[in-house]
């Protein structure tokens, strides 16, 4: 095997290189040559091509992130210990505790190999959290699939769910929430967004960097194999064509197989290393493997770095330096360790049976130098790899058909008016794939492990107790309605933010920070870039209004089937804090005898992008519901006060499917009947199915009713009494319309996913 060295590159300047096959544009390749003053070696080319890819360099999205930083106020900055740019954002939640959380996509791999794609998605995000020095607390998964009854969904969904569960369950991380959404636009491009949240003491925050000449670089965890090096395998073939039977490396599938056990042990090992204070920093190996870890560590530090690549423990024979640098083998971490701590480091690894190898050291210089058996194969300024990649100001253009989409509103759609038809619609909606019970999915996830889970599915938000002495805890929810975002990306993104914020509020927690995962089509399509830019601005402006910062996130472009992009899907995760988890608000009604049901907020005739239009008419058009973030904030404050004073016994936010769906869920989850009365001022259909934002259904003990409604009135939050809880009753009764038996509703709501996927 002949290895392309720097020396060789200097003497063969004209050697043709397969940079286009590696995804680099002509001008990007020219820039690499300019930076190096020569052609790159194979290994350098592999590094630059991966690190300058859209996924790693954020080259199309970077310029838009300024909206986030520009919208930060001092209030928002105050609690942020680490923000955008770190592995994951970190916020101070009081009592010396800090929380770190992040959402990340693993969309494409999950389409190719659903189980492993989703599993390694969970594994990757968990490593991001460990790298911050935190103990992972819980995971969530936000999923989008094609039509529920499409044959390919039957291939993809069960695999993805089993993968999320298989990996997360084995790590011992409770799964406390997520989403499952079906829409045709995701048919060839499902979305698998995984979230992990972790906890640490404020003083233990570790930001990875390679400082201090003489410090050692230690690679630990799994061996490095040929996983996920699909693209780079062209470097190993003479012809660049790959599958030519020349005996050279075949083009390999870009699929990785996860080993959750190895990751579990790695977590414990890292926690012990942090606890013993024997690491300067730890960097996870994610998408771009060693290329990313070495260049990021080096550029975050104050010196250079020398890596001896032949010391990397391998799983396959004959791997080239380029392949080793770009392997995406899972369950690996890289640590920077002072020389005097290396022995202690190795002892901890030995205790956990974790393979660890010293692969290099921090040097005085400013270069990242990588050698392979004494030959220099990489010699680069690390910042040019990790941070100074290309940045694009992609063309932006509002789609030509956006006006037509908006003009085609839901007004002309036939609405049920007869009592029987409205009741039937309630059942149809409850059984529709997007509204039906998620139990078939969530039942495959361990939500109990570690004993801190206070709320999980089917609650609006997941909640974890982080301190058993004080009962301090956190809550999390993720949301996004892609149909709203399609109709108006700015407002739609804010609606996603509003919904996640509201879901956290109804649990009794106070929202404090945001992480997002922006899933869009091709950035080379000006219409997609318009959606993207609008959505980012919507989120940034919305966060400013809500006073909570975006602390991190992830961008996933090129989500499309052929040339058709997915619905723009900026998934928003909102983190909340609760000082005492014992006052959490459950979703199901009926926990207390004699509850009154109140509807907080305004209900307008808003059906653009609604689930009803989608389910009953297959229609998407018009404008999404109005956003009122001040109202969301007020709702949050009222719920907090209500929960503090024991005035609220249950709360459920209204979103897809409107009041009808919220009532069905509150009854079924609480296993209790209810009697509901509608307002005579507005038609029954609108009251039941409108998706106006900023609304919550609350149950208050009758004894607290007056106190609670007085508070709402005093704070100018519109409220209306919509019914009473009836624990004796076996039905949901709606005055003037009739009764729905809970048994029938349950069969409809719970039957759908098992019928589709069992």
């Amino acid at each position: 095997m002949s290895i392309d060295t720097v020396k060789n590159a200097e003497t063969t300047p004209d050697q043709e290189q397969p940079f286009r096959e590696l995804g680099l544009k002509d001008d990007e390749y020219a820039r690499i040559r300019e930076i190096l003053g020569r052609r790159p070696t194979d290994a350098e080319l592999a590094m630059y091509s991966i690190m300058w890819s859209e996924h790693c360099s954020y080259k199309s999205s970077k310029v838009h992130f300024r909206h986030f930083s520009e919208s930060l106020t001092d209030e928002m900055r105050a609690k942020m210990l680490a923000g955008i740019g770190e592995n994951a954002g970190v916020v101070d939640i009081g009592d010396g505790w800090a929380i770190t959380f992040k959402v990340e996509s693993h969309n494409h791999p999950s389409y190719v190999e659903p189980y492993q794609g989703a599993a390694t998605g969970v594994g990757g995000i968990v490593r991001d959290i460990i790298a911050m020095g935190a103990r992972p607390l819980a995971v969530m998964d936000s999923l989008r699939f094609g039509k529920a009854d499409a044959p390919d969904t039957r291939r993809v969904l069960p695999g993805v769910v089993a993968g999320v569960g298989g990996y997360g369950n084995c790590l011992g991380l409770p799964n406390i929430g997520g989403e499952v959404v079906f829409d045709e636009s995701y048919a060839g491009n499902p979305l698998v967004n995984a979230l992990c949240v972790g906890v640490l003491r404020v003083e233990d925050l570790h930001l990875a960097h390679a400082s201090g000449a003489g410090n050692k670089i230690i690679l630990f965890g799994a061996r490095t194999g040929l996983d996920g090096i699909g693209g780079v395998s062209v470097l190993a073939s003479d012809t660049f064509a790959g599958d030519d039977g020349s005996g050279k490396r075949k083009k390999l599938p870009a699929v990785q197989v996860g080993d959750p056990f190895t990751e579990k042990v790695l977590i414990e090992c890292c926690l012990e290393l942090f606890q013993q204070g024997i690491v300067v920093g730890i960097q996870d190996l994610g998408g771009a493997g060693l290329s990313c870890a070495t260049s990021e560590l080096a550029s975050a530090g104050d010196g250079g770095m020398h890596v001896y690549l032949e010391r990397v423990p391998l799983r396959a024979t004959g791997m080239t330096p380029a392949e080793i640098l770009s392997s995406e083998s899972q369950e690996r971490m890289c640590a920077v360790v002072a020389p005097e701590n290396v022995d202690a480091f190795m002892a901890v690894c030995a205790k956990w049976d974790v393979i660890a190898s010293e692969i290099g050291e921090v040097t005085e210089g400013e270069r990242l130098v990588i050698t392979w058996n004494d030959e220099v194969v990489v010699d680069v300024p690390p910042r040019t790899v990790a941070h100074e990649g290309p940045v694009y100001n992609r063309p932006i253009e509002r789609p030509a058909d956006q006006d037509a989409l908006i003009a085609n509103g839901p007004e002309s759609l036939a609405r049920p008016t007869a009592a029987a038809d409205i009741l039937k619609t309630i059942v149809t909606m409850a059984a529709s794939p997007n509204l039906a019970s998620r139990r078939w999915v969530t039942q495959q996830y361990d939500r109990y492990v570690r004993g801190g889970t206070v709320l999980a599915q089917p609650s609006d938000a997941g909640m974890i107790r982080i301190d058993e002495e004080t009962n301090r805890g956190i809550a999390l929810a993720t949301d996004c309605n892609g149909r709203f975002t399609k109709l108006d990306p700015y407002a739609g993104a804010q609606l996603a933010l509003a919904e996640a914020y509201r879901n956290v509020s109804v649990s009794g927690a106070t929202p404090i920070a945001v992480s997002d995962c922006l899933n869009f089509g091709s950035p080379e399509d000006p219409a997609v870039m318009w959606q993207f830019e609008q959505a980012i601005r919507g989120i940034a402006d919305g966060c400013r209004e809500l006073g909570i910062p975006v602390t991190g996130g992830n961008v996933s472009f090129y989500n499309q089937t052929g040339s058709t992009a997915i619905l723009p899907t900026p998934v928003i995760g909102v983190l909340g804090v609760i000082d005492d988890v014992r006052r959490r608000i459950p979703t199901g009604i009926g926990a207390e005898a004699g509850e009154t049901l109140l509807l907080l907020g305004d209900t307008r005739d808003e059906f653009g992008g609604s689930e009803w239009a989608h389910v009953v008419h297959g229609h998407l058009g018009g404008t999404p519901p109005k956003v009122d973030l001040a109202r969301e904030r007020l709702l949050g404050e009222v719920l907090l006060a209500g929960s503090r004073d024991g005035m609220v016994s249950a709360a459920h936010d209204l979103s897809d499917g409107g009041l009808a769906q919220a009532l069905v869920e509150a009854c079924l989850i609480g296993e209790t009947g209810a009697r509901v009365f509608l307002d005579s001022d507005q038609d029954a259909f609108t009251q039941l199915f409108s998706e106006s934002a900023g609304r919550v259904l609350v149950a208050v003990p009758r004894s607290e009713e007056l106190r609670f409604t007085d508070m709402c009135t005093a704070r100018q939050l519109p409220w209306r009494k919509v019914g009473v809880v009836d624990p004796e009753s076996e039905s949901l009764e709606i005055q003037d319309l009739g009764q729905l038996q809970l048994g029938e509703l349950r069969a409809a709501w719970e039957g759908t996913l098992p019928a589709l996927f069992d």
Partner: protein
């Protein structure tokens, strides 16, 4: 009636955490000299004589194995 065996194995370049776990455990259990272990699935099918090799190949490829990460071998045994 025929008996058919299908063995499905992880592709050589793909990580095999199961085989790995076994290989790591053996020395701890006092068994030396096992240098590598791979673990896969073993299916035993009883099939009517009407089922031809092409059908079996199809079943293995589309259903018993996942061609993205696994290789497989179909063989008829006994009679």
């Amino acid at each position: 009636m025929a008996r058919v065996v299908v063995d499905v194995m992880p592709k050589p370049e793909i990580l095999d955490p199961q085989g790995q776990a076994v290989a790591n455990a053996l020395p701890r259990l006092g068994f030396e000299g096992i240098t590598s272990v791979r673990q896969g699935k073993h299916f035993e099918l009883e099939v009517d004589d009407s089922v031809d090799d092409a059908a079996l190949e199809k079943i293995a490829e589309t259903f018993l194995a996942n061609p993205v990460i696994e290789d497989w071998v179909v063989r008829r045994v006994g009679a």
